[in-house]
């Protein structure tokens, strides 16, 4: 069952610009996580934001969470060609020990 839905599906920007990706979900969560996937590889965890947090930073990444709107956004500032990848949000349900549920991802292309 797909819970997170990323928007847009694909994004193309110039190097140095900021990239914003959005994620919407449907049920109550314990936390929301963002992952990155380089082409043909496994996913790498980027950042986790808990349901009682509104914003979190990690280097050039900024994540916001609005539980009233059931949405999150990932901002990558001053993007680089090496940021080209697919980005996925995943939600951890607030109801017990359940697996993460992933969205379909946003494909980001950063053009040098």
């Amino acid at each position: 069952s797909q819970q997170g839905e990323e928007d847009p599906q694909a994004l193309s920007i110039q190097e140095g610009e900021n990239a914003t990706m959005n994620c919407s979900y449907k049920t109550s969560i314990n936390n929301l996580q963002w992952y990155r996937q380089n082409s043909g590889r496994g996913l790498v965890h980027l950042i986790l934001i808990r349901s009682n947090e509104r914003e979190k930073h990690s280097g050039r990444l900024r994540v916001t969470l609005d539980t009233s709107k059931k949405s999150s956004s990932l901002l990558i500032t001053a993007s680089r060609a090496a940021d080209t990848a697919s980005y996925f949000c995943a939600t951890a349900s607030s109801s017990g020990n359940t697996p993460l549920v992933f969205g379909k991802g946003t494909r980001l292309s950063v053009i040098a």
Binding site: S1, Q2, N30, N31, Q33, Y35, G40, R41, G42, L43, V44, H45, L48, F88, A90, A92, G96, N97, T98, P99, L100, V101, F102, G103, K104, G105
Partner: protein, 112 residues
């Protein structure tokens, strides 16, 4: 750092063959997961395990089985491979509920 190792990066099998995909993690994680990833469909959960000898069906278990005889190893079995099982298979583990996932590099399986 946690390492999740999948036995093969690329695998080519024939229809009807029995296929084993192996996954080993080295950090004593309780939870392990198998996902498949197809273009446009995101990650879909096949099976997961929260303890040795324990397994739970995910969203798309049909045509698959799993084995977890030891804590560090979680095997995915295709009893009789079919062409619609051609996909990228991703193994992941986590220490406990609501924590982040660590992924293997993935196995691209082609069934001819």
């Amino acid at each position: 750092d946690v390492k999740v190792t999948q036995s093969s990066r690329y695998l080519v099998k024939r229809t009807g063959e029995k296929v084993f995909l192996e996954c080993v993690q080295d950090m004593d994680h309780e939870n392990m997961f198998w996902y498949r990833q197809d273009p446009g469909l995101g990650l879909r959960l096949i099976y997961f395990s929260y303890d040795v000898k324990m397994k739970e069906k995910g969203d798309i278990p049909e045509g698959y089985s799993v084995s977890r005889e030891k804590k560090e190893r979680f095997s995915l079995i295709l009893e009789s491979a079919s062409t619609n099982q051609t996909s990228m298979y991703l193994c992941a583990s986590r220490r406990a509920t609501n924590e982040k996932l660590f992924f293997g590099s993935g196995t691209q399986l082609s069934v001819l």
